[in-house]
Symmetry: C2
Subunit: 551 residues, 2 copies
């Protein structure tokens, strides 16, 4: 592998270096002026997966591998992925750069900081929190004299109705549920608070859904930070902090160009998790890529019930840009791991586990597009196993099924898959959304729930009250972003394979006014992961030459 200077990668896709701001030799931010709305005619390939197991399906490897393979067979292709969060890097999962011959490089730069966007986002997010608590402090301190002294209107913040947590890009369990406000001095300013991981920030969702800097500015102005003593919204605009937050994100709006081990261009941008946010790279990154390449391969987080559903019903609804085909990634091992029968034989494991694959193919087909199954190959896979999966996939509605050997062989190892993808994209089928804007929130939630196989939705009293309030306030036209476990198609990580039929519980709802969706939380959804018993950070260090090891 030989890394090329990033300007050479740009030249491959006719991207002028005038649009680049380099961050070292191998990464550059791309100016949004490079988006050519007329040239925007590339085809988008959406990569999703079966229900993920702790071992992972190699979805990023396959996404990168397909982009390399398309170039290998002579097409011009770019991959679009999210920036990895430091939480998993130092926690359990490790980096998110792909691997083997299908990796984004330099891997250390991708996994740590990159061009600083996540740090900027954390900073912009927390400025709003500092500003809100400072206003609470000064309004309490000066009481009736506040307006006279400051020239500002009283916001009358209800300290128990602050809905904007702080964020940090680490797995810091101890910050999930805290008390802030100078406890020792004055209980008046003390209130419960929380930190989420940055990937869960509404600001991260906003970055990924914005069309340009002005759109970002408008959306940030709309975010609801808290409610006042009369239950009215207090937004970032009300606090006059939206402009400064946008200034902090002025450069974060620009995606970053990198390359793969085969020098295929990769555009990295934003990083919303797919369990607690919408789980897709940015609209801007796709727009740039589609105006530069014939094929753009993008990855949606977790299984098709998670990132893929949100790609369509949130991201594509906002952008108007739809894929030409959907690739469902799985592995032989992962399919077997979905089997829940007692003491099965090897082939029985595959047969019963494949039901999960079948569900994901069916789920992907709801959106009206050709679905291809990609088996991320491992050395121990047998011909019989692969033949079984292929015939199962075709019987269950996939237009094709092919292995990807990209980890071991790079683009060449996924070249047959790439040819089949190109063919599938030629069908030019018209995509459709799961629900229209005009359905009410309960109808939208049921539409998604029914794709999981749920027969009923059970709202907690809190959820129902919030739902009715949101409808009354005119937010019923927004799409829903279901926050749930990725480990099951249902809400319950213990229910493997295909959980239907079941009742889907809704614990609570949250308005994400800036992002433009309603978060629907099923049970306790983790918005701040914790470090495990044997965290990855223990193995990470610098060596004698100053190189990073163990990442």
């Amino acid at each position: 592998m030989k890394l090329l200077p990033i300007e050479e990668i740009a030249t491959k896709i006719n991207l002028s270096s005038d649009y680049l701001t380099s961050h070292g030799k191998y990464a550059a931010k791309i100016n949004l002026k490079s988006i050519d709305p007329i040239a925007k005619q590339g085809k988008l390939i959406l990569v999703t997966s079966t229900t993920p197991t702790p071992q992972g399906e190699g979805k990023t490897v396959t996404t990168i591998g397909i982009s390399e393979a398309l170039n290998y067979i002579g097409e011009k292709a770019i991959a679009c992925i999210r920036q990895p969060s430091l939480g998993p890097v130092f926690g359990q999962k490790g980096g998110a750069a792909g691997g083997g011959q299908a990796e984004v490089v330099p891997m250390e730069q991708l996994n740590l900081h990159l061009t600083g966007d996540i740090h900027a986002l954390t900073s912009a997010h927390n400025l709003a929190s500092a500003a809100l608590d400072a206003r609470l402090f000064h309004e309490n301190r000066l009481r009736d004299r506040f307006t006279e002294k400051s020239g500002l209107p009283r916001l009358n913040i209800d300290k128990n109705a602050i809905v904007w947590p702080r964020v940090v890009d680490h797995n810091d369990r101890a910050l999930r549920d805290i008390y802030v406000g100078k406890m020792a001095e004055n209980l008046e300013n003390v209130h419960p608070a929380a930190f989420d991981i940055t990937a869960a920030s509404e600001l991260m969702a906003i970055l990924a859904l914005s069309k340009n800097l002005q759109d970002l500015r408008q959306r940030i102005g709309k975010v609801v930070l808290a409610y006042d003593m009369n239950g009215r919204e207090i937004t970032a605009e009300d606090l006059e902090v939206a402009g400064a937050m946008t200034a902090i994100l002025q450069k974060a709006i620009e995606p970053t160009l990198m390359q793969t081990t085969e020098n295929t261009p990769v555009i990295v941008h934003a990083g919303p998790f797919a369990n607690i946010a919408h789980g897709n790279s940015s609209i801007i990154a796709d727009d740039i890529a589609l105006s530069l390449a014939d094929y753009v391969v993008t990855e949606a987080g977790f299984g098709s019930d998670m990132g893929m559903e949100k790609f369509f019903n949130i991201k594509a609804r906002t952008s108007g840009v739809f894929p030409s085909c959907i690739v469902v990634v799985s592995t032989v091992k992962s399919i077997k791991a979905n089997c829940v029968t007692d003491n099965p034989t090897a082939i029985e494991m595959l047969e019963c586990g494949a039901r999960n694959l079948g569900w994901h193919i069916h789920n992907a087909k709801r959106y009206g597009l050709p679905v291809i199954v990609a088996i991320n190959a491992f050395p121990n896979d047998t011909v019989e196993e692969l033949a079984f999966i292929r015939s199962f996939a075709l019987e269950n509605g996939a237009v094709d099924c092919e292995i990807s050997n990209a980890y071991a062989e790079g683009g060449k190892g996924a070249s047959i898959l790439a040819e089949k993808i190109v063919k599938a994209c030629e069908s030019d089928q018209k995509a459709q959304l799961l629900y229209g804007d005009d359905l009410n929130l309960q109808e939208k939630i049921f539409a998604v729930a029914s794709t999981y196989g749920a027969t009923e939705v059970d709202y907690s009293p809190e959820a129902m009250a919030i739902l009715q309030k949101l409808e009354a306030e005119g937010y019923g036209n927004l799409p829903v972003c279901i926050a749930k476990t990725p480990a099951s198609i249902s809400h319950d990580p213990k229910i493997k394979n295909v959980p239907a039929p079941f009742i889907l519980p809704v614990k609570t709802l949250q308005l994400a006014k800036g992002a433009g969706f309603i978060k629907v939380l099923l049970g306790d959804v983790m918005t701040m992961p914790g470090l495990g018993l044997n965290p990855a950070y223990r193995n990470i260090d610098i060596d004698e030459d100053g190189n990073i090891v163990g990442l």
Copy 2:
């Protein structure tokens, strides 16, 4: 003003672009391999000031102006400054880029993010906190089975003896005094905690005092995060997190090259505050600059009682690198503001306020070097006022006194000052420290206290107990870092001008084992500022073209 590509700035000082990692067109990180120990023969000029007033003395403007002026008169000069913290940028003070014709540009890049070092530092710092609380959680959760399950020794963290706060680079008062640990679930992990501003982090002091990446790694290993149930230190090495923290800082060890409005090279690195930390740019930045230029102008935070004292007794003690002369910056307005007489006339104001200047000249002269007074000129200054200050300065031991008109005129406006500085540097006087390593901690503290004019040091019972414990544990050989208000030479911001004689109270001491000093806190020292009633963020926004305004 025309900005030059950063490679052209590097060429001016014979710095090969092989050593640069560009971050946009106008900023580049400098590889430490560029340090040539043989070529390191430039002269260092240390810029300090009189006791600062809220209006400021223009110390950064003068620092930048002197570096421009040295180039104007034909010398090769570089300025070394700290990276601004976002706290003041969005709070009250605004950016720290200098101004007028003596500004570091692009100002927006300097003030926001730059090359991401402060963000990296915040992240590395908070990883240790997350790791420590996670270990507490797992040891509590698994009890006697912890070692069996994890293969790791029990650390037996005393949750009430955690001395490593978290940090955030904002003025967030509400995080000064918090409770963390999932309060709702299990009180066992709940404990008091705090956030400091990143500039107060021991890690920031370490970055500024490290000689290279390996030194940084060793120092990080030594930082004390908490004490165990038997009162023994738990370090970052014990928690096996020091390597990962260093990996996060792998690029932050490299200073950033920028330029002034007159294209003079500026090296920006680290950002410890001078009230709560040692208040100087990095040893590495000085090393690089001194191997590239004949003159290096560096700024120490706040008055000479703050950053300058720490420059000598902490930074120079560590590096072995001393200045050739000291510049004390003041303004007519600031000198007048130091007057505390009732109803004075204009000249009386100047006469009584000048005592503060006299004290700072005297204080600077303790270190054995020539002291020059620089008056940062304003349009309203009169010839009589300037003549008075000049004669006062000379009578009080300054080798010279000259105005700096760098704000209005750039290097030309400080060219006479620069000539006088060059002349003063030629004296080659030998610098001396205030105290030797072998003095005990009380003697060291008294040595600094007596320079303030204190006749006695009054230790709280807590301070005395910690002092004796530190001596007993063998930390008596470390230098002391006095944390106090910058608004007075004493510990009390209300005591203006020259406070002697007085009794200096010491509230508590803290070991900064990685940084290699003992923090001595006088009264309540603010380690997390708050946002004021009319914070600067209100005026910051992006305009229609996406440019940042109001910074």
